[in-house]
């Protein structure tokens, strides 16, 4: 990390920025909207936590550039930053009373003044705690940077754990209750929850215990993690394999019980995440492996969904001139995937000679064409136009004469997760094969790849077809989940979301697709209670993330093949090698 010498001007600049953001937060209303939303019950509201987080982060940043890793300097920086930034906010509070700004800034209100002065009659006196706590927080942030890396990680992990769980307290409580329910003792959950959580957010005791627990956990992970890894590496091969199988079984068990643990709302989110992850795996092959920028990916999703709709709908005759086919889900599924693959290839052929931006534009057009066609009067008699298709069949599983209908998100979860797992498996096998290498070579340099004997036409079409197939599968499940589809469900935003998902996760990385799906699709849903601030928070998180980790959350690892894999086939040296 780059550290420079102490530079007062730079510290002041960061301080002004921190203060500016505090004023911004106040004026958009974030500091008043969540006054009742406690992170620690009756102690710390989410709104005030934002002030502290802001000062902590800027304290850290200022220390990073100026502290020279010295304690004294760091504390000094924290004090300057804390006082300057909170003073700026205080000025806003002081002038908002005599200088009525509410015409322009709705949120510069008495509520804001009350909140930031802790309802003190004397405003100047009331601002003191804000300045003190804000300064304390920025000093803590600055000092955190000076800490040795291990302790820095531990402290950050503990703070983040307390904040994140406190913010999502309601969901966490539900999950805990569900876990107790799973073990047949729903009642035992109550006292535990009561001890750890207040009516909203943590109880003070709970927050302290969580902080310590997270710190200890992070300490063990960061300090002991490498030792454990080494020990596992030293185990004999059979033991390592058993360990891997054990882990897989454990993950499998978790996956099975997950919907029960998470409850209805979170399961619903999870199904959406899994559908997008499934699409992500497909686009990851096209963009991540083969380097073909496809912006019309939603087209194949739509084709899969519409094929499923037309084949299984029982109410087709109401909106179209077709008599219902009335197939069941499983019969229609391969046709839906097949149609998507077919169109993947049909689109692939004309764009074989295109690269980069040009390819992106053409695929973008293709995506729009499919949506407009679905909406058109021309196809209205066949696929329903703007009225869409209703009465799409739910998947059923035959079971001793009868049939289980997968209707709730809890049940659909299994179907989607199996599909996503299948896509992940296929992606993984293809990536490590001859096809995967050809894709990557093509991504690196198309001309040279061709000169190495790679058939570009076959290689590109295989990528397009596989990617389209996964998307079609996702579309078919999506249609069955909603039982009705409309053209406007298949807009450009879906293509962009899936593309962002693989970029956020790490282009070309398989775990990255899952992480990207959770962050990009799951997080906005979790933040739903923050209503109009949801996208602001989410956007800020994304920008921060791309600045801090541009390679994605879980970047693709380089394969080790010479010295690690396939040692058993090491040949005897040939004469030419001698």
């Amino acid at each position: 990390m780059k550290t420079q010498t102490f530079d007062f001007k730079s510290v002041l600049k960061t301080s002004l920025l921190a203060g500016g953001i505090l004023i911004y937060l106040a004026l958009v209303g974030l500091l008043t909207a969540f006054l009742d939303r406690d992170i620690i019950y009756k102690t710390l509201s989410l709104s005030f936590a934002l002030v502290l987080i802001n000062n902590f982060v800027f304290g850290y940043i200022a220390a990073q550039h100026n502290s020279e890793h010295k304690w004294g300097t760091a504390i000094g920086i924290g004090v300057i930053l804390g006082i300057v930034s909170t003073a700026m906010l205080s000025v806003l509070v002081l002038i908002s009373e005599p200088l009525n700004m509410r015409e322009m800034f709705v949120n510069a209100s008495p509520t804001l003044v009350k909140a930031l002065t802790f309802e003190n009659e004397n405003i100047v006196q009331g601002l003191l705690p804000l300045v003190l706590m804000g300064t304390a927080s920025s000093v803590l942030g600055a000092v955190t940077f000076v800490l040795p890396p291990l302790w820095r990680k531990v402290l950050l992990a503990a703070l983040i754990a307390v904040l994140a769980i406190g913010t999502l307290e309601e969901l966490v409580s539900d999950v805990v209750t569900n876990i107790f329910k799973l073990f047949g003792n729903k009642r035992a959950a109550k006292p535990a929850l009561k001890f750890f959580f207040g009516r909203k957010g943590w109880s003070v005791n709970g927050a302290i215990i969580m902080f310590v627990a997270a710190a200890v956990g992070s300490y063990l992970w960061n300090w002991r993690g490498s030792v454990v890894k080494e020990k596992i590496g030293a185990l004999p091969k059979t033991a390592q394999r058993n360990l891997r199988i054990g882990t897989l079984i454990f993950l499998f068990a978790v996956a099975i019980f997950l919907p029960n643990i998470l409850g209805g709302y979170l399961s619903e989110i999870l199904v959406t995440v899994a559908i997008f992850t499934l699409m992500g795996f497909g686009l990851n092959i096209v963009v991540g492996f083969a380097g073909l920028l496809d912006l019309g990916y939603v087209a194949f999703f739509a084709i899969g969904a519409y094929t499923m709709g037309v084949l299984t709908s029982t109410q087709l005759s109401q909106t179209t001139e077709l008599v219902s086919f009335g197939w069941n889900f499983w019969a229609a599924l391969p046709i839906a995937v097949g149609m998507a693959v077919l169109w993947g290839i049909l689109l692939g052929v004309p764009v074989l000679r295109m690269r980069g931006d040009y390819l992106a534009i053409v695929t973008l057009g293709f995506g729009e064409i499919i949506r407009v066609l679905a909406l058109s009067n021309f196809l209205q008699p066949k696929i329903g136009g703007a009225q869409g298709i209703l009465g799409i069949a739910k998947p059923t599983i035959p079971w001793f004469g009868g049939a289980i209908v997968l209707k709730s998100s809890l049940e659909l979860y299994y179907l989607v997760v199996v599909a996503a797992a299948l896509a992940a498996f296929v992606s993984w096998r293809l990536r490590d094969s001859r096809a995967g290498r050809s894709w990557m070579a093509m991504r690196e340099d198309e001309d040279v790849a061709e000169a190495m004997g790679i058939n570009l036409i076959k290689t590109k079409l295989l990528a397009f077809a596989t990617g389209a197939g996964f998307s079609g599968l996702a579309g078919a499940i999506f249609a069955a989940k909603l039982t009705s589809i409309y053209p406007h469900s298949f807009n450009l935003l879906i293509s962009i979301n899936v593309l962002s998902l693989i970029i956020v996760g790490g282009v070309g990385s398989l775990p990255g697709v899952v992480v990207g799906g959770l962050v990009l699709v799951g997080l906005p849903e979790l933040l739903r209670e923050f209503s109009e601030f949801r996208m602001l928070i989410f956007g800020a998180l994304l920008v921060t993330m791309m600045l801090v980790k541009p390679e994605g959350f879980w970047p693709a690892a380089t394969q080790k093949r010479e010295l690690h894999a396939g040692d058993e086939v090491e040949p005897t040296p040939t004469p030419e090698a001698a």
């Binding site: 995967g436 050809s438 070579a441 000169a451 190495m452 380089t558 010479e562």
Partner: protein, 262 residues
């Protein structure tokens, strides 16, 4: 000796510019044949005509008795011609091993279905391909560097890796485009020795492009000289060295007889 490749009256134009003008060469099997000429003489264009990257407007290219003009690049590689590039063009974000494995592509038969189900045949082929790649790494002297990303290798190693990648398809004719560009005299000497070693050990015919005459004089069996797209001389190194036309092309009019270009 039978010729492995013969180009007859090859002409390639770009608009009004004649980049290669009526060039004919016969490359004897298992020889080291060099094409030299000043910068911009049309050497690389001539290369690109052989590998199918360009299709010449006129003329014929015969490889092992079959015409190959107009055949797609990847098919020509599968027939046994592979090449390196003047400005190194490795797959820079892939490891050295992966680069060589891509080079082995023409010899691999496994399909994507086989890959998904991880069939025994696929597993065997992959294991053999990896073993072969390790063998080639050793042959070019890059043992132990296989897991490095190509872009992280030092310059000389990148040159060698590019040759390794080209050798991986087990070509009958290897085209090297200025393999010593950017090298100091020591590295150049090492590289020329290595080129001879490739021919002697693997029995590969080598077609070499150079603009530095000193490099080719020592190792070439036969040399052609291009200037402004046309062949101005052909012969053994000694004949080329003394050819006044060649000296003129390299050093300008009036220089013949005054300077020894080698």
């Amino acid at each position: 000796m039978a010729s492995i490749l013969s180009a007859k009256n090859v002409t390639k134009r770009f608009g009004g510019l004649v980049a290669v003008n009526n060039v004919s060469v016969e490359i004897p099997e298992k020889s080291i044949y060099s094409v030299i000429g000043p910068n911009g003489a049309g050497k690389t264009t001539f290369f690109n005509c052989i590998t199918g990257f360009y299709t010449p407007e006129e003329g014929e290219i015969i490889f092992q008795g079959h015409p190959i003009k107009g055949i797609p690049t990847d098919q020509i590689t599968r027939r046994g011609i592979s090449r390196t590039y003047q400005n190194i063009r490795l797959f820079s974000n892939m490891t050295a091993m992966e680069n060589i494995l891509v080079g082995e592509e023409p010899r691999l038969k496994s399909t994507w279905i086989g890959a998904i189900f991880n069939t025994p045949a696929t597993r065997r082929e992959e294991a053999e391909a990896a073993a072969e790649a390790r063998r080639i790494l050793r042959f070019v002297g890059l043992r132990g560097l296989g897991d490095q990303l190509a872009k992280n290798l030092p310059y000389g190693a990148q040159r060698r890796l590019e040759i390794a990648r080209a050798l991986a398809s087990q070509p009958k004719l290897l085209l090297l485009d200025e393999p010593t560009a950017g090298m100091n005299p020591n590295e150049t000497a090492e590289m020329t020795g290595f080129i001879r070693h490739i021919r002697d050990e693997l029995g590969v015919t080598i077609l070499l492009i150079e603009h530095d005459m000193r490099v080719v004089m020592g190792i070439s069996d036969k040399i052609s000289v291009l200037d402004y797209g046309s062949k101005i001389a052909e012969g053994a190194p000694r004949e080329i060295r003394d050819n006044p036309k060649v000296i003129e092309a390299y050093l300008g009019t009036g220089a013949a007889g005054q300077v020894d270009p080698a």
